[in-house]
């Protein structure tokens, strides 16, 4: 039986989203399709799969990503769904819990983890600039005395400012994670 859940996760909430998808899988609902606002689950036996969301450079269909995902497929890790973003894509992968009892780990070395975080951080900078621009335009328009829709601009401006703040916090957290891993790399490989 299929179950569709409408839920919004911002791009900087991929970890939370991944935890929720794994929690659903533990309860017997395995993700089959992810959209920007909806998730489609198939009823399966509980804890059949472990999920991992990958944030990859380039579009889902690019040659590099196709080869990479084919390699993961050979390892029993399937790409079940994806969402393309400008210059990047978010791929939802899964492996059997029997093969990955402690969770689906795609990277076991520090260098790869740093590279993955750099892709996310690069995209988050784009989101930061985009939301900052949106917040500034709306807030500045709201204070224009000749503006007849100043209230709409003000509300939108404040909303986008909140998004910008959340996005910047997420970006800073990513850079702190990168910095921690780089320090660890100085001691361990």
């Amino acid at each position: 039986m299929r179950r569709v859940i409408h839920k919004l996760y911002w791009i900087w909430q991929l970890d939370k989203e991944e935890d929720w998808i794994n929690e659903m899988a533990r309860h017997g609902y395995s993700l089959e399709h992810a959209g920007r606002l909806s998730f489609e689950f198939e009823e399966t036996e509980p804890d059949l799969y472990k999920y991992r969301t990958l944030f990859l450079k380039g579009s889902f269909g690019s040659r590099e990503n196709t080869e990479y995902l084919r390699f993961l497929d050979e390892m029993g890790i399937k790409a079940v769904s994806h969402i393309n973003y400008p210059g990047t894509c978010c791929v939802y992968t899964r492996g059997l819990s029997a093969d990955h009892p402690d969770g689906l780990e795609i990277y076991s070395d520090i260098e790869s983890r740093i590279n993955v975080l750099k892709v996310s951080a690069g995209y988050m900078i784009f989101v930061d600039v985009f939301t900052l621009f949106g917040a500034l335009i709306n807030c500045m328009s709201a204070f224009n005395p000749y503006n007849s829709i100043f209230l709409l601009n003000l509300i939108t401006g404040l909303g986008v400012t909140a998004l910008f703040t959340a996005s910047v916090v997420a970006t800073v957290k990513l850079f702190m994670q990168i910095s921690r891993l780089k320090k660890e790399r100085e001691i361990h490989e």
Binding site: F71, E74, M75, I77, I106, Y107, S108, D109, S112, N115
Partner: protein, 103 residues
């Protein structure tokens, strides 16, 4: 310039490729060689294999149309690098044992 130390993953990948293996086979052999201590994750293995092919330390063999799984094998220059790394590791172990008073 002396050779840079290899990462543990690269060392074990080169060691496992004395005969042709595909990705899953490499993960299994590395796990066996290290007594289960080294668990290569697929994404890490993929990046390492591409880098090693680029350096010419391993070769990607033509795909078997039946299995569609790409196999890899160590090259002569990869074997030379592996032997140099063994020499470096031996030096580390000998110095460690000498100064710590081990055997």
């Amino acid at each position: 310039m002396p050779q840079q130390a290899l990462t543990e993953a690269v060392f074990y990948i080169l060691l496992s490729l004395q005969k042709p293996l595909h990705g899953y086979g490499i993960i299994q052999i590395v796990g066996e060689l290290s007594g289960g201590r080294v668990k290569l994750a697929p994404g890490t293995l993929y990046g390492a294999l591409n880098s090693l092919v680029d350096k010419g330390w391993i070769d990607a063999l033509p795909e078997n149309p039946e299995s569609r799984k790409k196999e890899y094998v160590i090259t002569n220059s990869g074997r030379t690098v592996l032997e140099e790394e063994l020499g470096r590791l031996t030096e580390l172990v000998e110095n460690g044992r000498r100064l710590l008073g081990g055997n």
